[in-house]
């Protein structure tokens, strides 16, 4: 694994915009950064592939463990939600499984990857990983390969979904309309990622779709409908479950027949409480970092993470009893977990995190986000990668 300094393509902004990537620069700082790239060996890609698949299997066992032993309180999940999760989890064996998720891994190319967290409900950077870095590779080094079969696996997943549900229309919802304090760049990211998933789904024969704002999904007294009062049969939503269940319309979820993508049991995986549960089930596993619910067990050096947190918010690094880094935010009401400090490789002050995608239950590719500190936040750069065949 190497970090190579390279020349960005001439007029790269125009090239990525032509692919529909309009949030490549945030506040004059490139979010998409092609002044560098990461090079892997095919053996290292094998390692990431195997690790992703195994972590997925372990998460399945962990979810089953939570359901079997009724450990929902460890995740801070409201009691009235647990029957919905149990029901959805029970159906997952012969009904819809899961469309996607992203494992964030610390990996240096030498030691086994370590799971930092699992973004299982509303992961983004899918479009960058699947499309933008693919087209970059065609220009940069067309003879090289890339761990990236995201598009193909998404398509296969949607074929499966449509064969299973046969909905007359599929709805795709995200924060689409401005309002409140939502930054415009946030909207662009949400819209683009949702539009990409919709685009893939639209390639399935006879699949009809409607793209709506999440605010247009409302209860009409009998069922969830869209902005034109059409029945919502299947809904892909890029909006967190923990917010949906706590909003006014959340009380109707248990009465609805909507096929939700992702399913509500993803609340088990997108919660960082999954980390100490995994450690309890698989102590000293090479892909895991020690993680605990109580601070005392973590010793004097740990990363304190809110159970529900995004983009590094409210994450604090404590080393030898002293806070060495941290991010503010508004998370933490549900409590915290304490994870051992990962060794994130330092490439001249650049700290990369591997986002490894699982699509339809299969490892599907990676995207790399890099920061100048060990905490990956919402201004981290996306760096493309390749490996030699």
């Amino acid at each position: 694994m190497k970090r190579l300094k390279i020349e960005p393509r001439n007029n790269w902004q125009k090239l990525v915009e032509e692919k529909g990537f309009l949030y490549h620069t945030l506040e004059d700082i490139p979010y998409w950064f092609e002044g560098a790239c990461y090079q892997f060996t095919s053996q290292q890609i094998d390692v990431l592939n195997v690790a992703t698949q195994e972590l997925h299997d372990m998460c399945i066992a962990a979810a089953q463990h939570i359901v079997d032993y009724n450990k929902f309180d460890l995740l801070g999940i409201p009691v009235h939600i647990t029957p919905l999760i149990k029901e959805a989890w029970g159906k997952s064996d012969n009904d819809f499984w899961s469309m996607y998720g992203r494992f964030d891994l610390a990996y240096d190319g030498i030691n086994p990857p370590k799971l930092l967290e699992f973004n299982a409900d509303t992961p983004t950077s899918l479009f960058e990983a699947s499309v933008v870095q693919y087209y970059w590779l065609q220009d940069f080094k067309p003879g090289a390969d890339q761990f990236n079969s995201i598009d193909e696996k998404l398509l296969e997943t949607w074929k499966w979904i449509h064969s299973k549900y046969k909905s007359s229309m599929y709805h795709f919802a995200c924060l689409k309309n401005p309002g409140g304090k939502i930054p415009l760049t946030q909207l662009k990211e949400d819209i683009t990622n949702t539009a990409y998933i919709l685009d893939v789904a639209s390639r399935v024969k006879y699949l009809k779709y409607n793209f709506i704002d999440i605010g247009d999904v409302h209860w009409d007294g009998d069922k969830f409908v869209d902005e034109s009062d059409r029945t919502i049969e299947t809904l892909f939503k890029l909006y967190p479950w923990e917010w949906m269940v706590n909003e006014a319309h959340g009380v109707h979820i248990q009465k609805s027949n909507v096929h939700w993508i992702e399913p509500i049991w993803k609340m088990l995986w997108s919660n960082k409480a999954i980390l100490p549960i995994l450690w309890e089930l698989y102590p000293n596993h090479p892909y895991l970092l020690p993680a605990y619910f109580d601070e005392a067990s973590a010793g004097s050096s740990y990363v304190k993470k809110p159970k529900l947190s995004r983009e590094g918010a409210n994450v604090t690094i404590v080393e030898n009893g002293k806070v060495t880094d941290g991010r503010e935010g508004g998370y933490g009401d549900e409590g915290f977990v304490y994870q051992a400090v990962a060794t994130i490789p330092n490439f001249d002050g650049n700290y990369p995190i591997i986002g490894s995608w699982i699509i339809g239950g299969e490892a599907a590719g990676i995207g790399i986000r890099e920061n100048n500190s060990r905490i990956t936040d919402n201004v981290s750069r996306f760096i493309p990668h390749f490996f030699d065949k």
């Binding site: 529909g20 309009l22 949030y23 592939n49 509303t122 992961p123 983004t124 699947s130 499309v131 693919y134 065609q138 390969d145 890339q146 761990f147 079969s149 995201i150 598009d151 193909e152 924060l175 689409k176 309309n177 401005p178 309002g179 409140g180 304090k181 939502i182 415009l184 946030q186 909207l187 662009k188 949400d190 819209i191 683009t192 539009a195 990409y196 919709l198 685009d199 639209s202 793209f211 704002d213 999440i214 605010g215 247009d216 999904v217 409302h218 209860w219 890029l238 967190p240 917010w243 909003e247 319309h249 995004r310 983009e311 918010a313 935010g329 998370y331 299969e362 919402n378 490996f387 065949k389």
Partner: protein
């Protein structure tokens, strides 16, 4: 015998390696136009709209209609509007009434002076409390909180 086993091992290893390698084959997206994505992204995210120098902070819901030979966009607040530089013209389909107001006032949700044209029965309400005949659905956490909802 030992040599045979070694050869067999490498043959099996190579087969497994080739199978694994197929997982990483490059995408076939070069044949994919991403037409749907492009249409959505450029209509929803491109702030340089054809009707004026709009900054994106409107109430766009994705529905368009043509009224008096102009393209109007549907608002969740019960009217249609089109943008013309720094002004916005609203059209109220319930009464056929239209008004033009500064874009800034539109962005801030400034309410129509004459509530008789709206769908709320003509009751005088402020922009902050007004809702259209359609009930607002999910999304209140993000719009009230402002935290980045996605990871």
């Amino acid at each position: 015998m030992a040599i045979d086993l070694t050869i067999a091992f490498f043959i099996i290893y190579d087969i497994i390696f080739q199978i694994l390698k197929t997982k990483y084959q490059k995408m076939k997206k070069k044949k994919v136009t991403l037409a749907v994505l492009m249409a959505i992204v450029f209509s929803s995210c491109n702030t340089k709209k054809s009707n004026g120098d709009w900054d994106g902070n409107d109430y766009y819901t994705g529905k368009d209609t043509v009224i008096n030979q102009r393209t109007y966009r549907g608002s969740g607040l019960g009217y249609w509007y089109y943008m013309n530089s720094n002004n916005v013209t609203r059209y109220y389909p319930h009464t056929g009434y239209s008004e033009t107001l500064p874009a800034e006032a539109h962005r801030q949700g400034t309410f129509l002076n004459s509530p008789a044209h709206t769908s709320n029965g003509g009751k005088p309400v402020s922009a902050s409390t007004f809702t259209s005949s359609r009930t607002s659905g999910f999304g209140t956490t993000s719009r009230g909180g402002g935290y980045s909802p996605i990871s």
